[in-house]
Symmetry: C2
Subunit: 332 residues, 2 copies
């Protein structure tokens, strides 16, 4: 690890805050060396790797508690592993800090991250720290594993299969609006906390992803927005789909906001940062999927069906087709 020109020395940051995150994993060499060795895996196992950067002002607000920032960065990457059906193994972390980042910030950042390192039993094996005048950014590379090269791809959906999503959609985008004081409707403190929590600390669907290896034909996680990510699934599979808005899984605060102003529908389906899984599965798997959801205690909802496409048609509660100005962050 190298760091240049910061107030707190690299030695202090590593010793006080980062080394404990390795959970004593031998291949981390206690961060004294130039690289780390990944733990041995079985002959029929393979490593699955993803890399996502989280930056303040892009994926997090500078008013978010520092204790949530590392957790979000890690969970966003775990969500990518979940979408491939991989089991988390270890991670690497690059931090871009700036002169305004002090020891209290770093302490809270690391304490929060430790909660998830333990929760997901995923040791930090190495990384890098640099200091400049940029926003605080966290670049995580997460390593997972799978067996027999089996992963969930985004290109395997078939016409006539059902489109499912896990959890609830839109909470995170509404939580962001709420954090930015852009919601005038008066929600209870509990409802606001629910939405903001979903923005700050997403729930990667790791167990679900692994179980879906045998039952889903395509899968992705919802990071850019429901419509944008479903568009990706459709495009990669060479299909289209119909989405029934009436079946969208919404939390109570999301339902309240939507009933107060229909404009929130666009936020819900395009806002992104859901980190739920969207996947396709044959109709005959419906019961099996419902049992699986019950076993894992992760709600899943069938929200549509894949068509020969390429159109993605979204119907509202009254069966009327809706068009949105944007699909999400990305417009391919």
């Amino acid at each position: 690890m190298t760091k240049k020109d910061a107030k707190i020395s690299e030695f202090e940051i590593i010793n006080k805050f980062l080394r404990p995150l390795s959970l004593g994993e031998s291949g981390a060499f206690q961060f004294t060396d130039d690289a780390a060795i990944l733990p041995q895996i079985g002959n029929n196992e393979q490593y699955v790797v993803t890399k996502d950067i989280i930056a303040i002002n892009v994926h997090a607000l500078d008013t978010d508690p520092p204790s949530t920032l590392g957790r979000k960065a890690l969970r966003v990457n775990l969500s990518d592993l979940a979408a491939m059906g991989a089991e988390p193994v270890a991670f690497f972390m690059g931090l871009i800090i700036n002169p305004r980042i002090d020891e209290v910030f770093l302490c809270n950042f690391a304490s929060g991250l430790m909660i998830d390192v333990k929760k997901y039993n995923i040791p930090l094996l190495g990384g890098d720290i640099i200091c400049d005048n940029s926003s605080f950014s966290i670049s995580i590379t997460a390593v997972g594993k799978t067996t027999d090269n089996l992963v969930l791809r985004s290109n395997g959906a078939q016409k006539g299969e059902l489109l499912w999503v896990s959890g609830s959609i839109g909470d995170s985008a509404l939580g962001l609006l709420s954090s930015k004081k852009e919601i005038t409707y008066e929600l209870t403190k509990g409802n606001i906390a629910h939405l903001v929590n979903r923005y700050q600390i997403p729930q990667p669907r790791i167990a679900l992803g692994q179980e879906l290896l045998n039952i889903a034909s395509a899968c992705t996680d919802l990071s850019d927005g429901l419509l944008a990510d479903i568009k990706k699934l459709c495009k990669n599979s060479g299909l289209g789909c119909t989405i029934n808005g009436s079946q969208l899984p919404l939390s109570n605060p999301a339902k309240l906001l939507l009933s107060s102003d229909v404009k929130f529908l666009e936020t819900i389906v395009t806002g992104g940062d859901d980190y739920e899984l969207a996947f396709s599965s044959r109709k005959e798997n419906t019961e099996k999927l419902q049992e699986l959801a019950k076993k894992l205690r992760v709600p899943i909802s069938c929200i549509g069906e894949f068509t020969s496409g390429p159109e993605i048609r979204f119907y509202n509660d009254n069966g009327k087709e809706m068009n949105f100005l944007t699909d999400g962050y990305e417009h391919n």
Copy 2:
């Protein structure tokens, strides 16, 4: 890959500039999916992973050609793999771009990187792009492999062993000074180009690192500065050392500058960014090392000896002990 709010769409950046860097490696899934599968390795092989960030204004100048930026970022990581004796396999790349980064910049960036992707036969397997108002930054995670868990560590040096370095020291730091117009001494254009090139495009000593697995007892790469990194070797091995300044391997332009002003000695031994290897080996290995250097066409120089320490003593050409205000970027 996800990207938010940039002028050029993620789709375009990936399609035009990044996808070719995967060299068609199947586990990259053409960057359509949420993660990648690392290529299979043998039963007795292990993955070695390192992660270093390069940021403009920290490790590169905004006047550096964009074609060199990705190469430096990759090579800095390859240098870490070399220091562990690992063989490069693949890499992942996160880019933090900003609204001032245009298509021409990205095209030059990717063309430069492609040179090294082919040179080192190291495919890009995935990554992430975000856009904010920060400096252009490149976060690379490089994956290498080794056999039987054998890696070069930084803690194995023994008292009485010799201290060696590869290549020449100080060129990069002098190249940085030259780029910043902070050198008044008149060097020829060729000499300036040599120094600047060493700053912009370091030479990772990959083949040397792998050969050293059987002959060096400790190794690190020189990134923070000769003295800082040797201090790390000494500290991790519980030793000290003596360094003979007269034996420092210097290029001709470095020699010229040093003869013009002795102040450049501090730049040379503390400036960093050398990306040469420093390693320890038993005295009886000297001939073997010299043959190895000849075979690989990589010059190596014995510059000192490990002592019971903990002091690191640097002697100049006249045998006088020198002290420097700083060891390098980091002061543990």
